[in-house]
């Protein structure tokens, strides 16, 4: 089920909301949230709810294990078994074919002609996200950063929380634990206006900006080899903002939905295209992922504690795995490597960069990010190289469809993404002016939802 669908807006959300606030106790609300999460997830494919339930049960019992045992051996088992199980599931569903294809290519490289089967696997939507939720819960419990919950429904509600189930933000149990435990005493109206405001702003980001950009970006990139240099730049700039507003829109809606149910979901985007350097970019882009990568990968690898070389190695490894997390393809690994290299280079040669003017650094960083998105968007390195060649070597060819509209849309997206306020910079008090603006925005968004073809969120694929 998509947030930007009529069935969600006019059936699922009202029923879930009214049911939730109609219940009084924390336990009842946990149960209701867990059930609604499973309905939300099962709407797409009911069978995959079993997979989520299995993952939830394994992690829940691991949590109980941490509560019961204090000796390191048992605690280690409670860490290793569920994490291995979760990673095995993720590996099978997301990376099995990638591994087989890579193995096949490697054999071919050495002149071996072997038939390697291609498994008919459907990637369960959001598996990367809820696997992150369960793993972070287990690791935090093991480290003693959180006390595991004894309530199965509280944990099930956390894992299956529909607002952030399929495309994040990656919410760690510790950040939401207090709100989850106080659900029975939460005031309905406390965050109501903020929740509605966030949700509608997110809807505009997704439906009005990202989907409108997609209308010229997708056809252009489907025929990337026919594009001129200007066309390639327009398409890639369009994709740069499409991806941002799509994902940021989803996250903003998720945060808004959280508020509607008395849960404070952390910020996931902080105007990343305002970044002045690679390090700042990763503090502003997909914040929940970058902090998880930092806490569960970079720091355990040693972080920057063991000298310059080790720091670069750790940065590179973290970003490579971060790239692979996004998708089972070498282009994502390449994208991770590219950002790892940018971070390492900035760490080594950051001073001259920092001496440049603010505008130069912002535009420079933005162009570097756009180049990265070429790898991210491309289905092969061939496509990436072809696009980069077209962008940087003057080439004749086609422009995008409806170029005047495309440039107009890009101008709006550029202003909002690089100069304008993000949702956290905005006022959310329900003044009359704001009510009028939000009502008009909701009307426009709804018209686009019912009048446009199916438009899933880009990050669903991850």
């Amino acid at each position: 089920m998509l947030f930007n669908s009529v069935v969600f807006l006019f059936a699922f959300l009202p029923v879930t909301y009214l049911g939730f606030w109609g219940l009084r106790t924390t336990r009842a609300r946990h149960i209701w949230l867990a059930i609604s999460g499973y309905v939300f997830y099962g709407y797409w494919n009911p069978w995959f709810t079993l997979l989520m339930l299995f993952s939830t049960l394994v992690s829940y019992f691991a949590g109980l294990g941490f509560l019961r045992w204090t000796d390191p051996r048992h605690r280690k088992l409670c860490l290793v078994i569920p994490v291995t199980t979760d990673l095995a599931l993720l590996g099978f569903f997301k990376y099995a074919n990638f591994g087989l294809d890579t193995f096949h290519s490697a054999l071919q490289l050495f002149g071996q002609q072997v038939t390697v089967p291609h498994l008919n696997i459907i990637l369960p939507i959001g598996i990367s996200f809820y696997t992150f939720h369960t793993i972070s819960y287990i690791v935090d419990s093991y480290r003693g950063n959180i006390t595991p919950t004894r309530s199965f429904f509280e944990f099930a509600a956390y894992v299956s929380l529909f607002s952030q189930l399929v495309a994040g933000p990656i919410v760690r149990f510790r950040t939401i634990e207090a709100d989850l435990e106080a659900l029975g005493a939460t005031s309905r109206t406390r965050w109501l206006t903020r929740g509605i405001s966030f949700f509608i702003v997110g809807l505009i980001e997704k439906v009005v900006v990202a989907d409108s950009l997609a209308a010229f970006v997708d056809p252009a990139l489907a025929h990337y080899h026919l594009l001129s240099s200007a066309g390639a730049w327009l398409a890639m700039l369009g994709y740069t903002f499409q991806l941002y507003f799509d994902f940021s829109g989803y996250s903003t809606m998720a945060v808004g939905l959280g508020y509607l149910f008395g849960l404070r979901i952390p910020q996931n985007f902080n105007s990343p295209y305002k970044s002045l350097d690679p390090s700042e970019f990763w503090k502003r882009w997909h914040i929940s992922l970058s902090t998880c990568l930092r806490d569960y990968l970079y720091i355990p690898l040693g972080g920057n504690r063991h000298g310059e070389y080790q720091t670069y190695r750790n940065l590179m490894l973290t970003m490579l795995i971060g790239g692979l997390w996004h998708g089972a393809a070498w282009t994502f690994v390449g994208w991770g490597a590219y950002h790892g290299a940018l971070l390492a280079l900035y760490k080594r040669y950051g001073r001259p960069w920092d001496r440049l003017s603010r505008g130069t650094r912002q535009v420079g960083m933005f162009v570097l990010v756009v180049v990265g998105w070429v790898l991210f968007r491309s289905t092969s390195f061939g496509m990436a190289m072809s696009l980069l060649h077209t962008m940087f070597v003057p080439t004749g060819g086609l422009l995008v469809e409806q170029p005047v509209l495309a440039v107009g849309l890009l101008a709006i997206a550029t202003w909002w993404g690089m100069i304008g306020p993000n949702v956290y910079d905005m006022e959310h008090a329900f003044t009359l002016r704001r009510r009028v603006v939000l009502t008009a925005a909701f009307g426009a968004s709804l018209a686009l939802i019912v009048g446009s073809p199916f438009s899933p969120f880009l990050y669903f694929q991850f």
Partner: protein, 412 residues
């Protein structure tokens, strides 16, 4: 003056002059007035916000139509049905009209503008029929008529016409949704003749002969009045149409099924028992046969080569949703049961082949071509997807090339 009146007219300063006992009454009155005022203000605000919501929705829907289809923001065309017009020559497409992806040219044909006089060296093919030919669910320019033009020209360039080779094939789409066979004959005679087509392709819709009344030619109307769409149509809310379509698409299968059944039963209740066809109505089939042969004769009288096609349905291949599709079709032909509709269509295929053989007319067995083609060819019980339309175009192309050969336009 009564106490409430007094209270209503009193200012805050006056209130202090009212005795305490009377002031109690006044406070109640004031509170009521205040509550009423607040309720009115709240209602005005809600109404205002609803109006803003509606205007924003409507303006965005229109803007979207303009961006996607270049449909005028203030168009008087409000539905596909408005794309048909009735005049002295009968019923046909409305010239220069547009509704979303459906764009009519200056001659009232679906597709790009063409000159009345056929360009030298080209073969002019007119395809005609009902909604299957007009195109309903295909993407813009993917209806079979448009794909047929591309297919024919591609084959032409690939040497399909050795010897005498025309410059190009030009395919004009003269169909509109609901166009009956007698109306097609009328249109060919009264209007399409002046376009001097070389070939006229007809794709039938036999289920029209299971309608409450047998199909007849459209009554000509030379008054010109009915051609004008009301100016007030510009205010027609497109947002409601969009919402209605969305709600329909979200309706659960059982509810949709129940609504369809109810609609058919409501029609049946208006007629005596035995009104419904439970077997193939032979008279209607004979009428279809007669009208088809009449059309062949008409096409020949204008000097064109007729080409017939057999009608295809989604039921020629097993489908999981067959029952639901039959029920959907029954709603459009309530006079016959689902089984009769399908049986009638199958028999009409044989009738079409026989009429073609008897009249020495080329026929393309589109029904068979679609039955053999894998994939999603139908968007509903009879209308094509882009893929289905491509199969129809590919099935028709060889027959049309053969017809062009007969006319010495191709291959001799």
């Amino acid at each position: 003056m009564t106490q409430p009146d007094l209270a209503a007219n009193a200012s805050a300063a006056d209130l202090s002059a009212i005795p305490a006992g009377a002031r109690g009454m006044s406070d109640t009155g004031l509170a009521r007035t205040g509550a009423l005022a607040r309720a009115v203000a709240r209602s005005v605000e809600v109404a205002g916000l609803l109006a803003i919501f509606g205007i924003s929705f409507e303006m965005t829907a229109r803007l979207q139509d303009w961006v996607r289809f270049r449909m005028p923001i203030l168009s008087t065309v409000t539905a596909e049905e408005d794309l048909m017009v009735r005049d002295a020559s009968g019923a046909h497409g409305r010239p220069n009209a547009q509704y979303r992806k459906w764009i009519m040219d200056s001659l009232g044909l679906r597709g790009p503008d063409v000159p009345v006089t056929k360009p030298a060296g080209s073969v002019r093919v007119i395809v005609t029929g009902a909604s299957e030919t007009f195109g309903l669910y295909e993407s813009p320019d993917q209806e079979y008529a448009r794909q047929l033009e591309d297919t024919l020209n591609a084959r032409l360039h690939a040497g399909a016409c050795p010897g005498r080779t025309p410059v190009r094939f030009e395919v004009l789409n003269a169909a509109f949704a609901g166009m009956t066979l007698p109306t097609v004959s009328q249109d060919v005679r009264a209007r399409l003749a002046r376009l001097r087509p070389d070939i006229v392709v007809f794709y039938p819709s036999p289920a029209q002969y299971l309608d409450v009344r047998a199909p007849a030619a459209a009554t000509p109307d030379s008054s010109g009045k009915s051609n004008e769409l009301p100016r007030m149509n510009v205010l027609h809310p497109r947002s409601l149409d969009a919402l209605r379509d969305e709600v329909k698409s979200l309706m659960p299968g059982p509810l949709l099924s129940w609504l369809r059944r109810r609609s058919v039963q409501a029609t049946l209740r208006q007629h005596p028992a035995g009104w419904r066809y439970t077997s193939i109505p032979v008279t209607r089939l004979a009428r279809f046969d007669g009208d088809l042969r009449d059309l062949v004769g008409t096409v020949r009288t204008i000097g064109a080569e007729p080409v017939l096609a057999t009608h295809a349905t989604a039921f020629s291949r097993p489908r999981a949703d067959s029952a639901a599709l039959i029920q959907a079709w029954e709603r459009f032909a309530p006079r016959a049961t689902g089984n009769v509709i399908i049986a009638f269509d199958d028999t009409a295929r044989v009738t079409t082949m026989r009429a073609a053989a008897d009249s020495n007319v080329l026929v393309s067995d589109v029904s068979m071509a679609l039955a053999r083609a894998p994939g999603d060819n139908f968007a509903d019980f009879v209308h094509f997807t882009d893929h289905g339309a491509a199969i129809v175009a590919n099935a028709l192309a060889p027959t049309i090339l053969q017809a062009a050969g007969r006319r010495a336009e191709c291959g001799r």
